[in-house]
């Protein structure tokens, strides 16, 4: 679902984000927290980097045999009494969800946090079918009240300040005492819990995502810190898991390996508070659980990445470390990226899933500082892949004309040292003079984008090469 994506307008989006005082306050408040926590967790586990290699290898192995493991997973789900629905596109996934909800006459659907649900626009589809979706993850609940999408894959409301949450709660929970004290986060948490409790009992269907799908057992795995996922999937009559195909892992042992790097990379926890394994519907001897268990497996362009230079991104376990460590993300927040996935992983996934015409701007929204790749638990070469998208843009002549011309001229000059020397000598002199002895320029001809926010240090006046030549003579 890329309708409504504004990734191509990253520059305008980022400008607006930088001018948004609330957003900047929220970003400043959260900045560094995840980074420090991950660093601490890593320091506490000597084999952490070796585990990252193991995780990388197991994901590579799984991707090399993806069809095999998906079929094995399906067979296990069926054997345990569940159903698997293959969704080639986001529309297929929406149709599968609606079909199930329609059959069981669902009016209210509770939801655990799921980026795949965002990717498929499940909430919009439910609402259009007169079914009420209720997000149960606190962050998701907050942004649902605010009519927003997540700005971070594991901390969806990281862009919202505490006073803004209070405003949203007072507006949404109008039946409660207006004089109540909501100044502390704990008070809001308590209030959200009370409201959500009603929804859990009213819900006919619970939809969750999955952090992993275990092929050998047919289990789906979610990790949460609030326990909301458990209530979402065990109280309603029907549990729908919506997950993308690359989430499958061969064995429980492999799931354990990924779990060991996942929470540490994400929040710096050794493990999330809740790690829940689900297998099939409720059996006769079970005390609780849903009557129906469905898994919707979404492709939506992923299998087309297999065997290409973009295959590596299918290793992603959605930990969010890349965006936590990305200085561009930290400056503008997630919404500026204009589609479901922000930050470095968004910069490579968005062009893959929505087309390079839409997502290419994100592949350019990086200094290639490499911090994302340095922390990625499955060692995805994110900058290399952003560069590959820039190559696709260049091949398709999507690179802006001015940039193309500049690069062409640069190449032309680089092959002609004499012309190069002449051009650099001239530029050094002219720019030096324009500095008027102050050492810097306040405005740069053809470089207003540089001097809009900073001065341009003036050249010393004569190039190194001309001075060197004169000395050697």
């Amino acid at each position: 679902m890329s309708a409504g994506a504004t990734s191509a307008e990253f520059r305008a989006n980022s400008r607006a984000a930088l001018a948004d005082a609330n957003l900047q306050a929220a970003l400043r408040g959260s900045r560094g927290g995840f980074v420090q926590k991950r660093a601490k967790a890593r320091a506490a586990l000597p084999e952490f980097d070796a585990l990252r290699d193991e995780a990388t290898a197991l994901k590579n192995h799984t991707l090399a045999h993806l069809d095999h493991y998906l079929e094995a997973f399906e067979a296990q789900v069926v054997a345990s009494g569940g159903q698997v629905h293959w969704a080639e596109t986001a529309a297929d996934a929406r149709a599968a969800v609606l079909e199930i909800c329609d059959r069981v006459g669902a009016r209210t659907v509770t939801k655990g946090k799921s980026m795949i649900s965002e990717e498929c626009g499940i909430n919009e589809a439910l609402t259009a079918a007169n079914i009420t979706p209720v997000e149960t993850d606190l962050g998701e609940y907050i942004i649902q009240l605010r009519g927003e999408t997540p700005s971070h894959i594991i901390a969806p409301a990281v862009h919202v300040t505490v006073p803004e949450i209070e405003t949203a709660f007072r507006a949404a929970h109008a039946g409660l005492d207006p004089a109540r004290d909501l100044s502390r986060p704990e008070a809001m948490l308590k209030e959200a819990r009370a409201v959500l409790r009603e929804a859990y009992f009213a819900a006919d269907v619970g939809i969750t995502g999955a952090n992993m799908l275990v092929a050998e057992t047919g289990q789906t795995v979610i990790v949460t810190n609030e326990g909301n996922g458990d209530l979402t999937q065990s109280l309603p009559r029907v549990h729908i898991v919506i997950a993308s195909i690359e989430k499958v892992v061969p064995t429980l042992e492999d799931a354990a390996t990924l779990l060991r790097v996942l929470a540490r990379s994400a929040t710096g926890q050794e493990m999330s508070v809740y790690t829940t394994f689900s297998r099939g519907p409720r059996r006769a001897e079970d005390l609780d659980g849903p009557d129906e268990f469905h898994v919707i497996l979404l492709d939506n362009g992923r299998s087309a990445l297999l065997g290409t230079e973009f295959e590596d991104m299918l290793r992603c376990i959605r930990c969010g470390a890349c965006m936590n460590h990305c200085p561009v993300y930290q400056a503008v927040g997630g919404h500026a990226y204009g589609w479901v996935y922000p930050g470095p992983i968004g910069a490579v996934l968005t062009p893959a899933l929505t087309g390079v015409e839409q997502g290419g701007a994100l592949a350019n929204a990086s200094t290639f500082c490499g911090r994302c790749e340095a922390v990625c638990p499955v060692r995805i070469p994110l900058p290399r892949m952003m560069r590959s998208w820039r190559e696709k843009e260049f091949e398709k002549r999507l690179t802006p004309r001015g940039m193309r011309r500049g690069l062409g001229l640069w190449l032309w000059l680089s092959r002609r040292p004499k012309a190069w020397r002449f051009a650099t000598r001239t530029a050094a002199r002219v720019l030096h003079r324009m500095g008027r002895g102050s050492g810097a320029l306040k405005r740069l001809p053809f470089g207003a984008d540089w001097t809009a926010t900073r001065d341009f240090p003036a050249p010393e006046g004569r190039t190194f090469m001309e001075q060197w030549k004169a000395m050697k003579r």
Binding site: N364, A365, S366, C369, R371, W410, L411, W450, A452
Partner: protein
Amino acid sequence: MAGPRVALFVTCLVDLLRPSVGFASVKLLAEAGCDVDVPEAQTCCGQPNWNAGDRAGAAEMARRVIETFEPYDHVVLPSGSCAATIVKDYPAMFAPEDPWRARAEALAERTHEITSFLADVMGVAPARRALRASVTYHDSCSGLRSLGIAEQPRRLLAAIGGLELREMQDADVCCGFGGTFCVKYPEVSGAMAADKTECIAATGADLVLAGDLGCLMNMAGKARREGRAFKARHVVEVLAGTTHVPPIGDSK
């Protein structure tokens, strides 16, 4: 015995904007016992084209650089980012069966950023120099994460008498330069630069040092626009004792 034959690749930014970095580099290499040459045919390493997705153009520039610098024992650059282009990217520009691949790999093995060359390859004790100043060091991204340069410049700086190194917070976070990024998304770049100058200023150091002129232009330009008190220099200027030249973006 004659020292190794070392070609200095001054880089286009140093050549054009700050030749004194080139001269400081020559001085340091000569002091370390190298037989220094500056090949005249050098222009740009091709990084702008490579990072913009112009693979063919970048490969063409790489072939020229390989031809120009092949005859030397070592290639040294006063830039971690240009060095990383040769070391990491050149081999990736050619298919395994392309004869240029082997030549690119051979050159990559002999190519070094200057502080790591002095500290790791030459392993010489730096000339005894003194500078009474407090400095902070910014780790430029490619040098740090592609080439592992962090400890070498600090080790060399530790030998300068009277110099006090004050580490800043987030020394390893990008300054926002990013080559063409700084003009593609100037607002974001400017915001990142402002975060950086804030971290530098918080140390109270007189000088920010780094190993890449692009980052230094960005940090110095931002600091000047903000009216910050600290100045900016390439790390080799301090190591070579050529600080009589005005700091970057300054006239005194």
